[in-house]
């Protein structure tokens, strides 16, 4: 027997429903079958919320359809539902380049879970890579035991990121932008990162709070384009 394999991406709210043929082959007193089309339309009316609710709903619909006719086969229903991701996530990382890229990967997953488009995810990833590297290289001087923090927040129309480290006071936004137009290798190294970050964000702010450098980054999200008419 050959099994087909497929990969799909579940969006928040999507559910996978597995059922045995005791569902689709349930008979009513007139020997009509519950059938696949009815399964689909009943599932479409399932309540939002947890997977258990979908199971109860479907089971109730099948029983109501059968209206007391003898059960023809075993009934088993399994539902897996992708939940809405939390709007806020905070993570800590050590001061290494690999951990910066791990943070970027976490940001990509956060964006994906919240339905953020590929382009906006890329812009945010680049900003985080640059500013995270900055923290690791300069504020933490690549001391692996130092820790920096990433907080990600999903607003209705924006993604907000906050980076926090406990290095010496350093405001990357106050550094002058390097001169562009001159050949890259003739310029002073450094400073390129901040240019890339500014062009990919709507807002970049620095604050020194107690022992911490805090960097706030905001990227506004475009509203989703309307679906086909």
């Amino acid at each position: 027997m050959e099994f087909k394999r497929t990969d799909i991406q579940l969006q928040p709210g999507d559910a996978i429903v597995l059922y045995t043929d005791g569902v689709t082959e349930a008979f009513d007193p007139d020997s009509a079958l519950y059938g696949y089309p009815r399964l689909l339309s009943d599932l479409a009316e399932a309540p939002p919320g947890d997977a258990a609710g979908v199971v109860s709903h479907l089971l109730a619909r099948v029983k109501s359809f059968a209206a007391g006719a003898p059960q023809s086969d075993d009934i088993a229903i399994l539902v897996l539902r992708a939940l809405e991701p939390a709007p806020h996530r905070e993570l800590s990382f050590r001061a290494t380049p690999q951990e910066v890229m791990e943070a970027v990967e976490q940001l990509r997953r956060f964006c994906e879970g919240h339905g953020v488009g590929a382009r906006e995810t890329h812009c945010l990833s680049l900003a985080l890579e640059e500013m995270g590297s900055n923290i690791v290289n300069h504020a933490c001087c690549r001391r692996a035991e130092e820790v920096w923090r990433l907080a990600m927040h999903r607003d209705p129309d924006a993604i907000r990121i906050e980076l926090c480290d406990q290095g010496p006071p350093f405001d990357p936004t106050a550094q002058p932008e390097p001169e562009l137009g001159a050949a890259l290798e003739d310029r002073e190294p450094g400073g390129l990162g901040i240019v890339l970050v500014r062009r990919n964000l709507d807002c970049l702010e620095y604050e020194r709070k107690g022992d911490c450098n805090i960097l706030r980054m905001v990227r506004r999200l475009l509203p989703s384009p309307p679906g086909p008419a």
Partner: protein, 136 residues
């Protein structure tokens, strides 16, 4: 869909050999050129450039999905070395988001970028014609 690990960088180096003059080395990059992966590229290029006769490098970025300033610094260091040999560094097949990064930092005046392999082939053919005196 990506797995759990951060995106790696795959480096494939091809070099034409057996010619009178050292042929160009083509470096195909795939994945992410960032703060974690750029040291590896730097090492590989350093080894490649230890051959003083190598004067032309072609970076094929068709499969490169991400580049940060760390990556640009590697390219710029390579270009400096190659320029000192009166050679050049060429870039082909840039994806839109990669092209955008080059444009933001206005690296383009320093680098030669080709939109397609065809454009690059045309450029090579033209250079050959000039070299053999068929074109001024």
């Amino acid at each position: 869909m990506m797995g759990d690990a951060a995106m790696p960088l795959n480096i494939t180096i091809k070099q034409e050999t057996g010619r009178i003059h050292e042929g160009p080395a083509t470096i195909a990059l795939s994945g992410s050129l960032d703060t974690a992966t750029s040291p590896d590229l730097e090492k590989r290029l350093s080894a490649l450039l230890s051959n003083a006769k190598l004067t032309e490098l072609v970076f094929d970025l068709a499969e490169l999905q991400f580049i940060s300033s760390a990556g640009l610094r590697v390219f710029s260091a390579v270009r400096k070395t190659v320029r000192e040999r009166n050679g050049q560094v060429l870039f082909i097949n840039l994806r839109p988001q990669i092209q955008e990064v080059f444009e933001i930092v206005k690296s383009l005046p320093g680098f030669q970028v080709f939109a397609s392999v065809q454009e690059f082939d045309d450029y090579l053919a033209k250079r050959q014609r000039i070299a053999s005196g068929k074109e001024g």
